[in-house]
Symmetry: C2
């Protein structure tokens, strides 16, 4: 039997920040900025409020902050809540083939940084290892594991959180095996929960449970030594497919973080190409909604299967309306959370414009592609073909795009000056003497 | 689709203590006494110490006690630790066909009782509902779920803890559905962990996770409404077999608690019949080890497959030695933890006697049966046939047996007077105005 758990544990124990290529380090800071924006922007989401109400009376000492809020909890409960808020809008990062990498990791790592002093380089190193651990384990059983009904961001995320926290704790190889094993035996999360608050509970629990696993292993709480690959180990119990090579191949040279993607728009991926093209046409031609006679979209057929609501009544319904998405993009030049608010859905200019939107399916188009034709009242027609929607690996969001997204999400929670500071801290994360500076900057300053 | 989750939720919400038959109520008190004995007796076990060391710095306010110790934690962490200590010796109760019912339940319920005042009748009602919930859900997917590699005490136990705690919280039907759903999506525990400290982590996490699920549901944290039976629900994701009738049939008239068993001896079940017969022969004939020439056991073949160690060196090895088990039973007249200590394994009389023990297999015998022949130095031969080992459903431990086991486990942790008081509290549990009296009596009195 291939000693998968042992090989992975050894790699995590020995990996050094100095060996991480610069593009991977920079990608970590992009993931950090994106994660904090999502979490801070969701700090008052009903899902977060309900979870907080449930655990508030039982949490431990004020060791770590809740992003975008004033509460402080023990690091395990802080990780739980921040994991929920990172994912609740489904606006966090997405690995090209599997999990949402950041939501189980940054909440655990930043809480840890507030509890035990670590450097920014330690933080980045732990994150990179966490991403490789969770993504490799996920991909080793993908897609059969996911197809069976497991929400892989939760089930694999807990391994990432255990490895990353274990790295910061300085676990030895035997303890790192145990940490992965304790994570394996707590791994959970059902896709059946999609559409309910439990979807975002999964990365929160992964962050909390993985951290718990590492802490227990640090006190020599034992598990199986072969939790991943054993005949009755995690992989075989939860999937009909298991390729151990995916976990152990090219460790330290292939970085899964380089396959990470960020969503520019606060809605499902299938709508992004249309939004992207509409925003480009608007900005290139200084389009005004009142000048537009009609907007004709040609799209992959799946778009109308998933987002066909003609007259959305709420912001949430707006996310499932390709008509609203195109109109709000042209009216506002963006498609963040504010453009999918209840107010935006009722905005008179948006309502008028979305009634001028038509959709035609074209099976030759991929879901990241779109053809857009805008006919103006003066008779002119403007067209745009989007080959790769913004945010895909082929056309990633720029650092400036990520800053814009961050500002849009945190506006109203953080003062502008504080947002500037937090952005700067993220970009310079690897140089920080104390990584806790980031976590501390992610809570609103007191206003007196 | 049969609305299994809804039917079960409705039953739990509506079930009344007054409708529980007296034998079921009494069985609940027997389970309570047995659980507390196991937990108190394991309060200083290495597994418990390591878990405590890991969570100590992160636990919340001192709301609930740790059985057999002086620490007080928030109710969720108290439930975790007490769930571990209840199961760590594998000496806790066993449903005739599935889970260890008590370990995920009493730790949650007694912690709850210290936090919010509930009556003894409420406590018993919640426990009975918890047992029915976890056992029925377990049996609906058994044995395929277990055969796949899931440790069913953990995976099903969390549903029991959610239902029982949810009952005490007064959840409405919708919230009880959510509680079961939040439990489903946290359900975990791999059999791969058997032999490591993680085995007892499973019921601890089930107690803690189930309680968390109920608390979240009470704050309207939503889940799927059909978490158990949906196409991608817990049952189908974790098992190839699912019989919903097992969950919904005869609710309120068939009580799974009546299939509960207690272990009289601190070792694997296959050795119990031999121990039982040896103790009977000893007591009936006032046997002295020095008068014995030989002990010949005829047993089910599986006994020698599992417990063939001839010369055990440690107490743990003694549990896997049929030779030690028979000898220690005759020397001491019992086979509790003290009789499987390192000291007992090295006891001169025990060592001498176990070398006189022979074992012959007989495939006609079940593993709960034994034929024993003791030949004395004076030439007499004494024989005993055990048809049903003590502790099986056909020959349950008496209340006096359970008291004896409790005293043996708690000796050295609780003073005799306190043990007497706790025993009395357990037997009268349903009459208590404040169920917290039980939890408070399960920690050693201060000795100043």
């Amino acid at each position: 039997m291939n000693d998968v758990t042992g090989i992975l544990a050894r790699h995590v124990v020995n990996a050094r920040f100095a060996d991480i290529p610069q593009p991977v380090r920079h990608e970590a800071t992009r993931a950090l900025l994106n994660c904090l924006g999502c979490a801070i922007g969701s700090a008052r989401h009903e899902t977060v409020e309900n979870a907080l109400a449930a655990i508030r009376d039982f949490a431990g000492p004020p060791q770590a902050g809740v992003f975008g809020r004033s509460e402080r909890f023990d690091i395990l409960n802080a990780a739980l809540i921040n994991g929920i808020s990172t994912h609740v809008l489904d606006y966090d990062d997405t690995h090209a083939r599997a999990v949402h990498p950041s939501a189980p990791l940054w909440p655990a790592l930043l809480a840890f940084a507030e509890w035990r002093k670590i450097s920014g380089a330690d933080l980045i190193n732990a994150f990179v290892l966490g991403v490789d651990t969770e993504c490799r384990i996920a991909l080793s059983v993908f897609p059969e594991h996911y197809d069976r009904g497991w929400h892989i961001t939760g089930t694999a995320g807990i391994f990432g959180a255990a490895a990353a926290t274990g790295k910061l704790l300085g676990l030895n190889e035997q303890q790192m095996r145990w940490a992965l094993g304790i994570a394996a035996t707590q791994s959970s999360g059902l896709r059946e929960m999609f559409g309910s608050m439990c979807k975002s509970l999964h990365p929160g629990r992964a962050a909390q449970g993985g951290m718990t696993a590492a802490l227990m292993a640090s006190k020599n709480f034992t598990s199986s030594d072969h939790a991943i690959e054993a005949e009755r180990g995690w992989a075989h119990v939860t999937s009909t497919r298991f390729d151990p090579e995916v976990i152990t191949g090219e460790l330290g040279t292939r970085f899964e973080l380089l396959s990470n993607m960020y969503k520019p728009y606060a809605c499902g991926l299938v709508v992004h190409a249309a939004i992207d093209g509409c925003i480009q046409l608007r900005n290139e031609n200084n389009l005004k909604p009142e000048d537009i006679a009609r907007v004709d979209l040609t799209l992959c057929p799946i778009v109308m299967e998933l987002t066909a609501i003609k007259e959305p009544k709420t912001g949430l319904e707006g996310k499932f309306s390709i008509f609203h998405a195109a109109a709000t993009a042209i009216v506002f030049g963006d498609a963040g959370e504010p453009q999918f608010s209840d107010a935006a859905v009722r905005d008179k200019r948006v309502v008028a414009l979305r009634r001028k939107v038509t959709v035609a399916p074209d099976a030759a188009l991929k879901k990241i592609q779109a053809r857009i034709s805008v006919t103006l009242n003066d008779g002119r027609t403007l067209t745009k073909y989007v080959e790769n929607a913004l945010g895909t690996l082929a056309r990633p969001m720029s650092d400036a795009d990520l800053e814009r997204k961050f500002r849009s999400l945190t506006d109203g929670v953080l003062a502008k000056k504080q947002a500037d500071e937090l952005i700067a801290l993220c970009w310079s994360a690897e140089k920080l003497t104390n990584a806790a500076d980031i976590a501390r900057a992610a809570v609103p300053c007191k206003t007196n």
